[in-house]
Symmetry: C2
Subunit: 313 residues, 2 copies
Amino acid sequence: MTTVSFILNDKSKEKRISEALTKKVLSHIKKVGYKPNQLAKSLRTGQTKMLGLLVEDIGNTFFANMAKLIEKSAYNHGYHISYCSTDNDETKTKELIQLFYDRQVDGFILTPSEGLEETVQKLINNNIPLVLIDRYLTEVDTSYVVSDNFKGAYDATKHLLADQGKSKKVGFISLYSNQTQMRDRLDGYMKAIDDHKNQAYIKKINMDEEDEEAVSLIHDFLLEHKLDAVLFATNYLAILGLKTIKKYNLKYPEIFSFDDHTLFSLHEPPISVVSQDIHALSAETISCLIKEIGNKNKQSNKVVVPCALKIRA
Amino acid sequence: MTTVSFILNDKSKEKRISEALTKKVLSHIKKVGYKPNQLAKSLRTGQTKMLGLLVEDIGNTFFANMAKLIEKSAYNHGYHISYCSTDNDETKTKELIQLFYDRQVDGFILTPSEGLEETVQKLINNNIPLVLIDRYLTEVDTSYVVSDNFKGAYDATKHLLADQGKSKKVGFISLYSNQTQMRDRLDGYMKAIDDHKNQAYIKKINMDEEDEEAVSLIHDFLLEHKLDAVLFATNYLAILGLKTIKKYNLKYPEIFSFDDHTLFSLHEPPISVVSQDIHALSAETISCLIKEIGNKNKQSNKVVVPCALKIRA
DNA sequence: CTGAAAGCGCTAACAT
DNA sequence: ATGTTAGCGCTTTCAG
């Protein structure tokens, strides 16, 4: 029994079991079609080889693609992913974290919604491997992997400013949200505006506003300031912007979006974007989490992945 | 211990445990913050309350949204979902099924790729609850939940035929795939064409064709027959169609797509679609699977959900 | 109502 | 190199 167990767990070498025997056991195992019970194994070892991935919304292209890449990357490291959507709902997120905790996942990947500080801190205190993605919590010292939102927004705004004539009016449309990615994008916009000694025009939309209403707000904002160009903080907002333009048949302000979308390259005119490097983000996330799992009690890794401008004008 | 276990498993009534005691235990449990170990529980009961969801590609909007709704629906039934993308790869799918099997999921939800007949049959033989979605396997008697692809394509083609003048040329662009959903869409198109005693124009594209090449193929097909209208078998293909038109600056044939996409309503001109009722599909899927889990050894449920035409022309 | 104890399938220390 | 055994944390039968 012991021998078999060792062989099955790739400890033949370590335990100095003869190669002949190893092969014999392995082939016999295969013939009988024996499959170890993972539950029992996990119960015994405390390792589930499962990672919990909690994203804001798996229905969202950005997260769906991230999830897919993370899944693949985890697989290459011998881990599997269990995902869930948090819907940015604090209560639901806490429940899901508890659930995964109960299921004893070996680690967490999480897009934290606001108000999750204590919950995350508790995980950290319990020495649960964890990496935040897309945004992070300023008050908790955790590992995280995020895009360089500041520079992305800064570069985009610079581009818009350079593109327009002298008295250029470049606006910024974002969400009422204090999450770091939103704050950084705003800061990037501001910095570029300030560098040019220009005037800032900022509009924030309520996250759970009806599309109809949001479109109307965007319309008012656009007209009120007669903007020449607008940077949207998310692709979802930019799409609302396009709807607005279509609905009211507006003369196009130049539009720039954070996050790409199939729509943008096909749109007439095509929409330029700040694109996030989801391959790098995913790879960094897993490598970061694997590190955490490896050496408990270590300091946190904070990774910032550059964005790229895709100019389509 | 026994009593506590009963109370924790909602068997107070059944086991005639006094309400007072029940409450006392419950409140104490809460105070101590005791959480049952799900692994041990599952090992003992053989129930994991986990469902395996294997979709073709979680990065695809249709599946991502389905996954989200299925997740929610499962949650309402006390189940959780573990997802994976199969990439339509036979080997990978088999591995994933084995993996979930090892992890003792209580049931499977699967978009079967071709060549999966035996594997699925094996699951059925082992009495594993299973429901196929999006497409099914003609040779295996399983439960499934699919859209009414035939009628969807039929109605769309009818619409196109009615919309065009006398000598209307309506083409159909699909994939080289024998999966049922593709076959049914083709059949629906054919039936409508035949009903009108019209000529069919069909083009199939290789599933893993480069976009570039596919666009060129579509271009040739469109021009060769001077088509007035085209029905695309998937939204992905329709997007390639739009790219083609844009790239070659073609006069627009009327375009119809199977499956909606954010792009289509914003496009100029807007694109009409056959839309699948993902809410109904998700709900049916879970209710079907729950049924399977409830009474083992029962006959299979086959559910066909109607599609709707969204005319945007 | 409660306590004792078996057992789910596995790992790993220990003895042989 | 192999057999024996304890125990991971829970459910559930059986006696009290």
